[in-house]
């Protein structure tokens, strides 16, 4: 299941991408438009800034803005920053690998085999989808 953090993050990014000008947008503007708690959204945007997806400007007239064109922001980057692993089990994760306690041999594990298939298919979608593809049509 996708966490609300990730869901709200994607919605906020889409909102930013749909603006005509890429100038700083305040948290409260996004929060009102997308029905997201102001404080919660604040922590989400902070995470995206630390991940290098968003830039921010402090003080009056400040806010958050996209650091790159929407076409260059891949969904893999966004989801990894907010959600963590894309894989459904840590033992098939590319970026967040962890060995299973119960599995003596990964290559003989049926779950491992299946989840690699799922991961590859999911990655294919997320790698080839950018923020620009999610724009309101």
């Amino acid at each position: 299941m996708l966490s609300k953090k990730t869901k709200y993050g994607i919605k906020a990014l889409t909102y930013l991408a749909n603006r005509i000008e890429n100038c700083p947008v305040q948290i409260s503007e996004i929060s009102k438009s997308e029905n997201i708690s102001h404080k919660f959204l604040e922590s989400i945007l902070l995470t995206l800034r630390k991940a290098g997806v968003l830039g921010s400007k402090k003080g009056k007239g400040g806010g958050y803005y996209l650091l790159k064109p929407a076409l260059e922001i891949k969904m893999t980057d966004v989801i990894r920053a907010l959600e963590g692993p894309i894989a459904m089990v840590p033992c098939v994760s590319l970026n967040f690998y962890e060995k299973c306690d119960d599995c003596p041999d990964e290559n003989a594990c049926s779950v491992h085999k299946l989840m690699i298939q799922v991961r590859d298919n999911t990655l294919h979608v997320l790698r080839n989808t950018t923020l620009a593809d999610l724009n309101a049509s």
Copy 2:
């Protein structure tokens, strides 16, 4: 993330599918072979029986066995029984649909659009994979 319940369930099913004879296998045999807590596995196999995947025989010499040939047991059925929804958000789930609180219009939602893509790709894998495909090679 896949729950341990689902993971253990798939491992147990694979174990059953790999047996030469499809006669009742005791919980403790599977539990030992796959390093799963006996009691926990018990509840998992019970779920699979209620879902119509496994049959059981009580009393001495009893145990669990596959109700259908491995080739006819789809991963979608197994995962839905143990994990619940396959989709990453309830609003794109086929079997466990729920409307989002924050979304006035699903069709305009960027997350919705993206997650339908992911769901379709995942479903494609899980529908076309049966227990027989997971056999130890």
